[in-house]
């Protein structure tokens, strides 16, 4: 039923030889595998920029206002005599957040793996629309370029925090970065959203329409479920951010008053009247909260798949995993107010959002327990991808648990906007999603590049990163609970916090080591493309369809017919089989039951 009527026509198509030039193959490619690699490489470059920024502002926090050769070299006029300027500090924090959340963990993660895996795992020749897919990537590329260009604006890049709350972001006289820098930020994000919408629509249509014969929804690998639901959340919530951005552009450039009212700044009263900054917060977080799940769900999908494969066991509670993805997706659209408990909105609303927010902990807990149970009595293959997956569960739990404190409006009064929040979301979203992404890269690198990554470099990469991640973000809870606000250029004006200065030094040292260690990964990644060992077709002995496709990439993914699917994706160590994995395209034996859970 799901084998589409026109797959046949498509099959025939591939008999003919398309003439491919360098440009159509590597640049304006419409092939999902190439587009996935393009997303990955662009995301990696943005990631390097983001990490460098974080290393710089961490050094400023640890050794405030000390001259630093690095600052002088990288920041130029923003670091006279090597001392970082307060404006650029805020700009670094802002752009770091934007790049990491949107360009690395949304586009880099979802864009790479949705593109790579959706067609390959559901048994499709390509995305529903290769052309839109290509447009989506190039819009993302364009938005990245604009974001990078914004770093070089005369008055400074956007510096109002990644949440760009007006009026700070709306008024150039409030902050240098709110001039041209903010304009470019908004333009870049508007283009980014367009790209994301095109991508998401494509993923949704592809999953609904192009599944191969036998690939029913309940036989889909959890990766596909995660990408599918992520795309739906994206389509529902990103347009709201787009409208917020457009209204903000109007306030900034055309004198409207959507978010502004009664402002006196630099000696003059502005004409704005009747708008409300709180409205912007609602619009922003209506996307902003779902966005964090847009980031984490794909990582969860990847981790579920990798854990099952490397445990040589079915994922525990397949149906519960799907149900919790759906529950999280639904709940994630009605919890945004937990970012606004002290924004001045009606306290009654705060109560409602506390209720919905704590509810979301339930499906999250179910997922965590199911992953742990998946390990139980497994035969764990400790490949780097598996290590990152276990690391994912660890940081997701540590970070998720503090959500229970933040989600409680009464407690949030005192820790809102402190380093406690920074610790929470970096562990639960930043580090976890990053681990998910690394796990995916280590696992599917052979599929992407036909080469193996060096596993020893992978082990070193994982262990040092894992220690640094906890070293950075665990102590951060404590300076948050001591009341230290985030986004402070220096704390030296508050003797009250003097006893926390050494914690900040420790954090920074871990951050620097953790940042530098990524060079090991980058080296492994780029060198293995050329000099890596040639990959076998199914190096991890996995059951999903992508491993039935040849190592050499080809248009249309499979020579000849697309494999048909006869079972779910998790027949690992199934009794009655000699091998410990049965690929999805292997028909049931006579009398074999399809354990469908």
């Amino acid at each position: 039923m799901s084998a589409h009527a026109d797959t046949h026509a498509h099959d025939d198509d591939h008999g003919h030889h398309h003439k491919e030039t360098f440009v159509t193959k590597y640049i304006f490619s419409q092939d999902h595998k190439m587009i996935a690699k393009q997303y990955l490489i662009t995301g990696t470059i943005m990631g390097v920029i983001g990490v460098l920024m974080s290393m710089m502002f961490r050094m400023q926090i640890a050794w405030p206002e000390e001259p630093n050769v690095l600052f002088e070299a990288l920041l130029g006029k923003w670091a006279p005599d090597g001392v970082m300027d307060a404006d650029i500090y805020l700009a670094l924090v802002t752009i770091h957040g934007t790049i990491m959340v949107f360009f690395v963990l949304t586009a880099g993660l979802s864009g790479t793996f949705s593109n790579l895996l959706i067609p390959l795992q559901i048994g499709a020749r390509d995305m529903a629309s290769g052309f839109l897919n290509m447009v989506s990537y190039w819009l993302f590329f364009l938005s990245s370029i604009i974001m990078v260009i914004s770093l070089f604006v005369e008055a400074g890049p956007a510096a109002a925090g990644w949440t760009i709350y007006p009026p700070l972001s709306a008024l150039p006289m409030a902050q240098g970065g709110s001039g041209m820098g903010m304009t470019l930020w908004l333009v870049s994000m508007a283009i980014f959203i367009a790209s994301s919408l095109l991508g998401s629509l494509n993923y949704i249509v592809t999953v609904i329409n192009l599944r191969t014969k036998g690939m029913s929804m309940t036989r889909l690998p959890l990766t596909i479920w995660a990408f599918f639901v992520t795309a739906i959340i994206g389509v529902v919530s990103f347009p709201v951010l787009l409208s917020a951005a457009l209204l903000l552009i109007m306030d900034r450039s055309f004198g409207t008053s959507f978010f502004l009212s009664d402002i006196f700044i630099q000696g003059e009263v502005l004409h704005y009247q009747g708008g409300s900054p709180v409205l912007f917060e609602h619009l922003f977080w209506f996307l902003g909260h779902p966005e964090v799940y847009i980031v984490i769900l794909p990582a969860m999908g990847l981790v579920s798949e990798i854990m099952a494969s490397n445990s040589r066991k079915p994922i525990f509670g397949y149906r519960a995993m799907i149900a919790s993805i759906l529950a999280i997706a639904f709940l994630s659209t009605i919890v945004w107010g937990h970012h606004m408990f002290v924004s001045g909105m009606n306290p009654f609303l705060g109560s409602v959002f506390t209720f919905t927010t704590l509810l979301i902990a339930i499906p999250s807990a179910v997922k965590a327990f199911n992953w742990i149970t998946t390990l139980w009595k497994g035969n764990l293959q400790m490949n780097p991808a598996m290590l990152f997956s276990i690391g994912f569960v660890s940081t997701f739990i540590t970070g998720g648990l503090t959500g229970i404190i933040l989600g409680d409006s009464a407690l949030d009064i005192n820790v809102h906007d402190t380093y406690f929040v920074v610790a929470h979301f970096h562990l639960v979203m930043g580090i976890s999603a990053l681990y998910g992404m690394f796990a995916g890269i280590y696992h599917w690198y052979p599929k992407m590049f036909g080469k193996m990554l060096n596993k020893n470099l992978g082990y070193i990469h994982f262990w040092i990163t894992a220690i640094c991640a906890y070293g950075v973000f665990f102590p951060m809870h404590f300076i948050g609970m001591a009341g230290l606000p985030r986004r402070y250029y220096t704390n030296s004006n508050f003797p009250l916090f003097d006893d926390l200065a050494n914690v900040n030094v420790i954090i920074t040292i871990f951050a620097l080591i953790g940042g530098v260690v990524q060079i090991v990964y980058l080296y492994n990644f780029f060198v293995s493309i050329f000099f890596g060992k040639k990959a076998p077709q199914n190096p991890w002995k996995s059951t999903t369809l992508e491993w039935t496709a040849p190592v050499e990439h080809m248009h249309g993914n499979w020579p000849g017919e697309i494999p048909h699917v006869h079972r779910w994706a998790y027949d690992y160590s199934k009794p009655g089989h000699d091998v410990d994995f049965v690929p999805q395209n292997v028909p049931l034996k006579e009398g074999e039951e399809e354990l469908q859970h």
Partner: protein, 355 residues
């Protein structure tokens, strides 16, 4: 200098890693590095998992011992403070238990079930009973937390006008705070930033025609009488700010174009707080650090850092621009008599105008 040193150290670390890899690779030259984990890798990483579990526990203990005096969980200075602290402690205990157990299971399983050639994993795909258990337990725990949390929240946010609170406006601007008291009538006069007249020193935009505004008092320090409920009305003239008073477990954003509010009752005077053992210890610790930090300054012939004495603070906790990091106001909690004496010294609005 420190930075340069760090960079050098980082380079060394990189070199060390490089060498480690070389050794790894050499050790494996014979059995060939295919990129897929061998039994040896499984064993090594299994043990490392246990090591990592220990690392998580150690870092937790170290953090609690070294920085766990948690000034935000004890020693509150407002009437509602202890209820928040209590809820915080309960939540922390629950989190701590869940964290300890789940991290143990995760890492222990990773160690216990590390792969071996020829071993077969258990085909265990589902168990409704187990899943029901771990859905229901969080439901119960969270239901408890939700009920407790919400009742606390409603108590804190509900303003009881009947106990006649002292009304104080907190006025935020880039990058400082002002406080405005209602004067003898305890009623704040009307105000709007459109009425600001810098030349006449009407800096908060009070309505000069409003009789209630005449006796208003504008100050740069916030004084509060102990034991008396205060109702804060927050205003901002330019961008978002947040009035954060951590010692009182209080925070509310200041939003241009609207008035937000938050109320609490301070319970400990500044003088009494300075005398509590925890505070004395904290201040001593901080002063030791400041003496230490003054040494290089003195060596350079500069002024040493001033010794620290404890004061309550109102600090800005919403990014508001360049000097966000230094937007603070001193809060003084004092006896009613001291407060009365202080407020009498302040100029009433009508007398502060320049004609």
């Amino acid at each position: 200098m420190t930075a340069l040193l760090t960079i050098i150290v980082l380079v060394f670390i990189l070199v060390a890693i490089w060498q480690m890899v070389k050794i790894f690779d050499l050790a494996q030259a014979k059995n060939e590095n295919t990129g897929v984990a061998t039994d040896k890798d499984n064993t090594m990483n299994g043990y490392l998992m246990m090591g990592f579990l220990a690392f998580i526990y150690v870092i937790t203990i170290v953090c609690f011992v070294k920085w766990g005096d948690l000034p935000l969980m004890s020693n509150s200075a407002s009437a509602h403070g202890p209820t928040i602290d209590n809820l915080m402690v309960i939540s922390m205990v629950i989190i701590f238990i869940v964290q300890t157990i789940t991290q143990f299971l995760l890492h222990y399983f990773a160690f216990k079930y590390k792969g071996e050639k020829g071993k077969k994993a258990l085909f265990f795909a589902d168990n409704n009973k187990l899943e029901a258990i771990w859905t229901i337990i969080p439901v119960i725990v969270l239901a408890g937390l939700i009920i407790y949390g919400l009742s606390t929240w409603i108590n804190i946010m509900g303003v009881d006008e009947s106990d006649d609170p002292l009304v104080v406006e907190l006025y935020a601007q880039q990058f400082n705070w002002k406080a405005r008291y209602g004067g003898a009538d305890n009623t704040l006069g009307k105000a709007n930033v459109r009425l600001i007249d810098i030349d006449r020193a009407n800096i908060l935009g009070l309505d000069e025609a409003d009789p209630n505004a005449q006796d208003d008092v504008i100050t740069t320090e916030l004084h509060l009488p102990v034991g008396k409920p205060v109702l804060f009305k927050m205003r901002s003239q330019d961008v978002l700010h947040s009035a954060y008073m951590p010692h009182f477990r209080a925070q509310m954003n200041c939003v241009p174009g609207m008035i937000t509010q938050f109320g609490f009752t301070p319970t400990v005077t500044t003088a009494d707080m300075r005398e509590t053992p925890q505070m004395k210890e904290k201040v001593k610790k901080i002063n030791d650090i400041r003496v230490e930090n003054s040494k290089p300054l003195l060596a350079k012939g500069e002024e040493p850092l001033e010794p620290y004495t404890f004061d309550y603070l109102l600090i800005c906790n919403k990014i508001c621009g360049k000097s966000h990091y230094n937007m603070q106001m001193k809060i003084v909690v004092e006896t009613q008599e001291e407060y009365d004496a202080w407020i009498k010294e302040q100029k009433a609005f009508k007398n502060s105008l320049i004609n």
